[in-house]
Every structure is written in structure tokens, then in C-alpha cells.
């Protein structure tokens, strides 16, 4: 089930929440677990079994590690269970997500004719395997205590708000709020959660979907309708699509968590206004970055074992980060691209960039980030890196000039929206909103009512526009009487 569809918005979401609030404390976690399983099973009923398997395995491993810890066998039997957990989780991920990628790569490399497996990617597996892994590793390290209640543990793994697109919630993040009694929230909290949810929905439906539509429209322009500038414009729209899509989903997840009394970690912090690549990765998909830092980079020694070892560690982390995003060499290349950039920044580039004026720092960052998306978006193995090449004029009909083809028309049509996306991706609207509220507080006596009215009105407009957009998205004139 997707957050931006009518089944979720018009049925699942309101019904779930109303019942959740009506139920007594004792029933809330069970309801959340059942609802989450239903949510997951909606799209792929069979794959819910894999998730149940994952729950059972990691619950058992956690309990076993705890049990043998108490018996003083932390480093022997406890470690064996940790390794078992890692092998099983990574094994599941590899089998379902990467098996065919490995087979294809082997075939391409050695000319073997191995057939593909008939598996498809269970939705959200990249997220929930990382979440359960964080649990067993943290239990082993003694950071969290093993969860005794299988229901609470199952609820942690399946929790639907962050199940399919993050943020990656580590067990340690929510441990203190797993019991329903520990999740008291006031109507004001719920209101804030709903606000976050609606704004996230708007980001996804109004910005990401529209930007995505323009990206695919521009992608369809080929041959003489295409030009280098047009490719750049398309990649820009893609950059905004992926940001608003991903951060919109995260906002919806965080908002829904808030409505139930959870506090999920933040996932995006206006990454496109970063002033270096290093800063970009501190603001983009933050929970993934911290997961790799916590569970791969630091355990491998981080920067404590000399620059050579650090380079090796960084290489591995970024190789894996790339691969995590998808089973394709373009994603690996994209990860390694950031390895090179980040390593260069560590060596000297950061100091060089630091001397630039602020605006140039941003241009520098955005340029390389956009270039990165130019690699990321090349997921068609039959035309490797065609987008990246296009950004530099490779494979482009240059008879009409760099700004020829449909570029002039497209930029005229879409410049206002592009500017809107650019502004909306920064912290400017939030700051302006804050300033406005401050002004109201200074002028008005009964400020909370005014602010409430303004906010409620704004949220309702965003919600209505989102629904209109979703419903009209299904509008599909099938004009076979074309002739």
C-alpha cells in the first residue's frame, strides 16, 4: 500500500488512527502490529511470510544473545548468534535483491549463460533488514536490552509508517516508547504529527509527482528535439523529484509516528542548500548515513587506523551505500562517485571550497549532486550512463545548438515551477513562516487562535490539492477513437 493512494488515505489511515485512539493501552500495540501486517500484505501477500520469518529469527537471536550474556558467554555463543543474525539478514537481502544482479554480472563478465531466478524484490526489505540488524548488533554490544515481548518486537519491525521507505528507525531510537503506556501524546502532539503528515503528502503528491511527470516528459524528447540544456533541465527535475519523493515519505512517516507518540529520527535537513558534499551527506537520508557509520565504518576502524585504512573503509562504505540503493552498477558507480568526492574533500577540496563565497559553495555542491543524479538515473543497462553522457553532450544531436530542441519551450513553460521547487527545497519557507508567526504574536493579543486558524486553513488547502492531484492522476483519456 502506498501513502499517496486512496486506499491508504481514504480508508486505512483514518480507520486505523480512529481505532488506535479508541483502544485501551493494552490493545494498541497488537492493533498496530496487525494493521502493519495488513498494510504490508496489501501489495504482496506472500512476502509477509519473509517478514514474519525475519521477526522470529531476530527475536530469537536477541533473546539468545541476552541469555548467553547473562551466562558469561558473550564472546563465544553470543557472538555466534550475532553472526547468525547478520548472515541470515544479509542473506535474505542478497537473495531477494541482488541474486539476479550477481547472475547478470557474472554472465556479462564470463559469458556464462546462467538463468535468472524467479524472485521479485519484497517491498521495504532494504529498510527492515537494516532495522532488525541494528537490533541484534545493539543487543550484542549491550546498548539495548533484548526485547522479551514478541508482540512489541514484531510491532517494531513491521511498524507501517516507516516500513517501506524509511526513515531507518533503529531499535535504540524507539526502545523507550515501545510499550504503549510510554507513548502519551496530547492532542497538540497529534496535531503537529498530522501537520507533518499533510505537508509530507503535499511534497510527495504536488511536488515530486509533478516534477517526475516533467522528467519523463523531457526524457521522451529525442533526436532533434533534444539538446544538452534539455538534458540538464531533465536531470534538475529528477533531482527535485527524488528529494521531494523521499523526504515527503519520511515526513509522512515521522508525522504518523508522532500521532501515535513515537519520535522517529529526522531523515532530511534541506540537503540542497548544503555548502559541501560532506555537508550534503549529513543532511541527505541521514538515517542511512548514520547506520553505515555506526555499523560498518566505525567497526572497521573508521579513521583511527591510518589514512590508507580510512580510505579503504570509506571505499567499502560508499560501495555498499551505492549498492543499497539498487541492484545495478549505476548505483555502485554513484556510491563510488561520492567516495571520490568525499575523499577529495577530506584531502584538500574542503579547504579550497571554504574560501569561496557562500553562493559558489552552493553552486559547487549542487553541480556535483546533480551530476551524481545523472549517474543514478541511468538504470537502463542497455544504454549505460546515457544520461551522464547527455549532460556533456555525448550522444546528443548538436545541430540545433546546446540550447536547441525543446529546451526553449520547456524552460519557458516550466521555469515558475522549477523556481518553486528550488525555493521549497530550502529552509526559506520554514523561516519565512516562523517570521510570520512571530509578527502575528507581536501584533495580536489572542495570537494562538489566529495562528491555529492560519495553520489549519493552510493544511486543508494542501490536503485538498493533494487529493485532487491524486484523483486526477488516475485520469487517463483512452482515446482510441483517435482517428
Amino acid at each position: 500500500m502506498v501513502f499517496s493512494g486512496m486506499v491508504f488515505l481514504g480508508v486505512f489511515f483514518p480507520v486505523f488512527l480512529l481505532l488506535y485512539w479508541l483502544l485501551p493501552q493494552a490493545g494498541k500495540n497488537l492493533w498496530l502490529l496487525l494493521a502493519s501486517l495488513f498494510f504490508y500484505a496489501w501489495g504482496e501477500p506472500v512476502y509477509v511470510l519473509i517478514m514474519l520469518f525475519s521477526i522470529v529469527v531476530d527475536y530469537t537471536n536477541g533473546r539468545m544473545i541476552g541469555y548467553f550474556d547473562a551466562k558469561g558467554k558473550h564472546d563465544t555463543v553470543g557472538r555466534a548468534f550475532l553472526i547468525a543474525s547478520i548472515v541470515i539478514n544479509i542473506g535474505l537481502l542478497c537473495f531477494f535483491k541482488y541474486a539476479n544482479f550477481f547472475i547478470d554480472s557474472l554472465n556479462a563478465l564470463f559469458g556464462t549463460g546462467l538463468g535468472n531466478l524467479a524472485v521479485s524484490l519484497p517491498i521495504g526489505i532494504s529498510f527492515y533488514t537494516f532495522q532488525t540488524l541494528s537490533y541484534t548488533i545493539d543487543v550484542y554490544r549491550g546498548i539495548v536490552r533484548p526485547q522479551k515481548n514478541p508482540l512489541d518486537f514484531g510491532m517494531f519491525v513491521t511498524m507501517f509508517p516507516q516500513l517501506i521507505a524509511g526513515p531507518i528507525v533503529r531499535y535504540a531510537d524507539v526502545e523507550k516508547r515501545l510499550r504503549a503506556e510510554d507513548r502519551q501524546c496530547t492532542p497538540a502532539d497529534v496535531f503537529r504529527g498530522l501537520e507533518r503528515f499533510i505537508l509530507g503528502l503535499g511534497k510527495k503528491v504536488l511536488f515530486a509527482n509533478l516534477a517526475g511527470g516533467l522528467f519523463s516528459e523531457l526524457s521522451n524528447y529525442t533526436e532533434s528535439d533534444r539538446s544538452v540544456a534539455l538534458v540538464w533541465l531533465a536531470v534538475l527535475f529528477y533531482s527535485f523529484q527524488i528529494y521531494f519523493d523521499f523526504s515527503g515519505y519520511s515526513d509522512m512517516a515521522i508525522g504518523m509516528g508522532q500521532m501515535m507518540g513515537f519520535q522517529f529520527p529526522e531523515n532530511f535537513d534541506h540537503p540542497y542548500e548544503s555548502r559541501s558534499i560532506t555537508e550534503f551527506w549529513r543532511r541527505w537520508h541521514m538515517t542511512l548515513g548514520s547506520w553505515f557509520r555506526e555499523y560498518v565504518y566505525i567497526p572497521l576502524g573508521g579513521n583511527r587506523k591510518g589514512p590508507l585504512r580510512q580510505a579503504g573503509n570509506l571505499f567499502l562504505v560508499w560501495f555498499l551505500t551505492g549498492l543499497w540503493h539498487g541492484a545495478g552498477w549505476n548505483f555502485v558507480l554513484w556510491g563510488l562517485y561520492y567516495f571520490v568526492l568525499l575523499f577529495l574533500e577530506k584531502l584538500f577540496l574542503k579547504d579550497a571550497v571554504a574560501k569561496l563565497p557562500s553562493i559558489l559553495k552552493r553552486v559547487y555542491t549542487l553541480f556535483f549532486v546533480a551530476l551524481g543524479w545523472g549517474i543514478f538515473v541511468c538504470d537502463d543497462p542497455s544504454r549505460p550512463l546515457s544520461w551522464l553522457g547527455g549532460l556533456f553532450g555525448i550522444g546528443i544531436d548538436r545541430s540545433a545548438g546546446a540550447f536547441g530542441g525543446m529546451f526553449g519551450y520547456s524552460i519557458c513553460s516550466h521555469l515558475p515551477f522549477l523556481l518553486l521547487l528550488a525555493v521549497a527545497s530550502t529552509s526559506l519557507p520554514a523561516r519565512l513562516g516562523g517570521r510570520l508567526l512571530q509578527m502575528i504574536q507581536e501584533i495580536q493579543k489572542n495570537e494562538s487562535a489566529t495562528i491555529y486558524t492560519l495553520k489549519a486553513g493552510y493544511l486543508l488547502v494542501v490536503l485538498c490539492l493533494s487529493l485532487i492531484s491524486i484523483i486526477s492522476g488516475s485520469y487517463n483519456p483512452f482515446l482510441y477513437f483517435r482517428f
Binding site: 500500500m1 493512494g5 486512496m6 486506499v7 488515505l9 481514504g10 480508508v11 489511515f13 483514518p14 488512527l17 496489501w42 504482496e44 501477500p45 506472500v46 492532542p187 497529534v190 496535531f191 498530522l194 499533510i198 509533478l210 524528447y221 529525442t222 533526436e223 532533434s224 528535439d225 533534444r226 530542441g405 525543446m406 526553449g408 519551450y409 519557458c412 513553460s413 516550466h414 521555469l415 515558475p416 515551477f417 518553486l420 487562535a449 491555529y452 489549519a456 493544511l459 486543508l460 490536503l463 490539492l465 487529493l467 485532487i468 492531484s469 491524486i470 484523483i471 486526477s472 492522476g473 488516475s474 485520469y475 487517463n476 483519456p477 483512452f478 482515446l479 482510441y480 477513437f481 482517428f483
Partner: protein, 454 residues
Amino acid sequence: MQYKEKNKKYIHYQIFIAMVLLFLLFCGGIGILTGEKQFSEMENRYLTSFSVPHLAEILDGKAQEQLEQALEDQFPWRDACVQISVSLKRLLGAKDAGGVYFGKDGHLIEKKLSSQLPYERYARNRKFITAAMEELHQQGDEAGWTLVLVPFPGSIDADLLPAGAREFDEAGYREQAAGAEEPDQKQAAAAGAEKELDLYAQFREKREAGKRLYFATDHHYNASGAWEAAQALREMFHLPEKKQEDFGMEQVTDAFYGTLYSKAPLPEIRPDSISIPTKLPELSVEIDGKPVDAGAEPDGGAAGAAAEAGEAAEPGGKAAGAEAEAGGHRLWQIYDMEKLRTKDKYAVYFGGNYGKVVIRKKASAKPSARRSGMHSGKARRICVIKDSYANSCVPYLFDTESFPDEVAELTMIDLRYFNDSFQELAAQEQYDEILVFYEMSNFIEADYFNKLLG
């Protein structure tokens, strides 16, 4: 006291939360409550409806997908949502939607780029036509072939396009094709190559004189455009010179929202009107081999027919009605007036497109036909391989008076629906003339001209 104070502070939050959730529930449930709509006229497609799924459909996720689609399809104010959404996009600067440019003066024009319609496809389809003709000639058939390509609206109405908007280069394509043929033209002429009736210059000239030749909301030409094409054909066939008014033009609707409007439904778009020629000779129509008897002309002419369309039996039409039902159609002259009540109003001509439509001048009504046919050639029999552009043009080829070389029989073949062998049909029928009549972009897009062979 403090608790009460606190609760009071929260009450407006609770109201908002309840309001949002109930509103969402309303949006989700309203489609189920308001009953099921089967068909969307705007989109010309069947809507997904609610149904009880089988276990297998649930297990592979199909039923869930269907429910998702049904909730959106059955939303009662869906068309309004689309209008708002398209308007907002335009407010944000968009100059096209759904593959349709928002042209000047509320004129909608299809967006067709050369990347979608490459020259190679055009050349390939032309080759198919030549090959079909040669194949037929080899069987001893002597029909003259003429290629009639009505210009693409975006080429003629280029002045109405938004700034910077592009279309495929129709003029260039035509020139290139003409140039490519030149070397073996003479040889081909000897072998009796197909002619080409070039309407491009004529349409441009009329457009430059300020004439509107295409509908503003539909991808077809309007009555003026159809008449331009007809005039050129009449000249080619040496039919007597006439004015369009001579055909008794009558406006049958002023509320036509065509296919382009469906794709880009901006609220301020004005509907088109449709005028049809009503002064036609008595014609018999045969659709896919079944005769369709024309009902009696309703009182008050075409306008009256439009008003009466869809109502019960027409006066004196009982037998005719029964006969018509056998074929599934009821026509007045060549018109299906009921279509004027639907969204697809262009289908007033013949009721739409069929594999094979034969139109004959009724000999009995015109006893002079045979007699006058004696002193010169015989009456003409024409075959038109066509798209829907032909439907509104061919009526002008029938004259009320009779004379030698008049068009007495016209067969329209729509290859999308025609599944017999064209070669066999043509060899058997021995037509005098064969026209290949398409709008330019349709012609390039068509992927079925191989049906003309073998």
C-alpha cells in the same frame, strides 16, 4: 480547574484532527456510496468498479490494485478534479497538458514531435501504399490511386501555438518525399504510379486568409476543412463546381467538446459547433456488409433530427427501425443523430468508424442516372482507404443531380477494423478510383498498411 483549562486549549486541535480524518473517510467512501459509474465519456474508457475478488486475485495483489483504481475512478467529482489540476498546472506556467498545447484563443492543438513521428515511418508507409498499388496492377486492375494527406492541424494553425512550441516538420517531410520520388518519377508515371493530391498549400493559403479549418477542441477538421478537402477532390474528379452552401449546411450542435478537450480540460474552453451538409441525394448505406436503412427525415430537417435524437420511434420509421436494429444502427441520411447526445459528437457521420462502409446513390430515386450515363463514361465507383477525417468529407462527393462520371458508389475501408483481404476485395470490385485518405500525423503513426498487401 487547570485540567479544564488545558482541555479547552486542546479542543480546537481535536476538532481539526477529527475533521481531517472524517474528510478523508468521506473521500474514500463516497465513490462506494454514490453507486457505480461504468464508463467515462471524457476518457472514452470503462472505469474500474468495485467487485468481490477471488482468493487468487488477492494473493497476487490484483484485487488490491483494482480497489485502488476503483476508489479513484469512482470519485464523483473526478472530472472537476482534473479541470482544477490542469488549470493549476497552467497557472504554474505549463503551456501543454496531456500532449496538447494550450493554443491561442482557446484553441487546443496536439503536440506531435518528430521524435514521435520520424520521417522514416512516413517514408515506410508511403512505400506500403505504392507496393499495394503495384500488387493490384499486376493482377490487371486499372484503378487510379491517389494519396490524399490532410495537413496536420499543428502545421496549419502554427500561428496559434504557444511561443517556442514545436511540431514535427510536415512541410519538410512532404518536400523530402517529393524529392525522393523524383528520379524514377517518369518511369513510375509510365507504370501508372499513384498521384498525390497535395492539400498543404491550399490549407495554408486559406489559413493565411484567416479561415479556421480545424476544431478548437477536437483533433479533426471542421466543416470548412472538410469542404476544402472535398473541393480539391471534386476538382480532381471533374465534378461540377459548387459552393458549400449548395449542400444545405445545417448546424446540429454547438456543444461539441472533442478529444483534445478530454486531454486538456481547461474550464474556460468554448465548445465547438458541428455543421453537416443535408442536401444530399438519397443514399443507401451498408456497414460491414449489412444494409442500414435510413430513417425518414424528421420534420424540421437536421436541427429537428438533432432535437429528436435518441427519442423513441421516429414517425413512419417502424419498419426502418426494425431493420436498423438488425445492423445495430439507425441513420438519417448518412448521419447517426443519436451521437449528438453523446460526447463523441464527431461520430454523427456514419455513427463512427467501421471496417467497410458502402454508400450508394439510390438508383430508383434517380431514374435519370442511367440514361444520362449513356452518352459518356459510366458513373464512378470509388474506394477510400481512410481514417475518420474522410467521414466528414465524403458526403460532399455525392451530387443531387445526375450526370456521367458522377460518384455513384463509394466504399470506405478503415484498416483498423477491416480484416478481410483488401487485394481480393479490390480485384473483385474493380473500383475506378482508389483514394488513400488520411490526416498526415495519423498516416505516419499508422502501423497496419501491410494489411493492403497480399
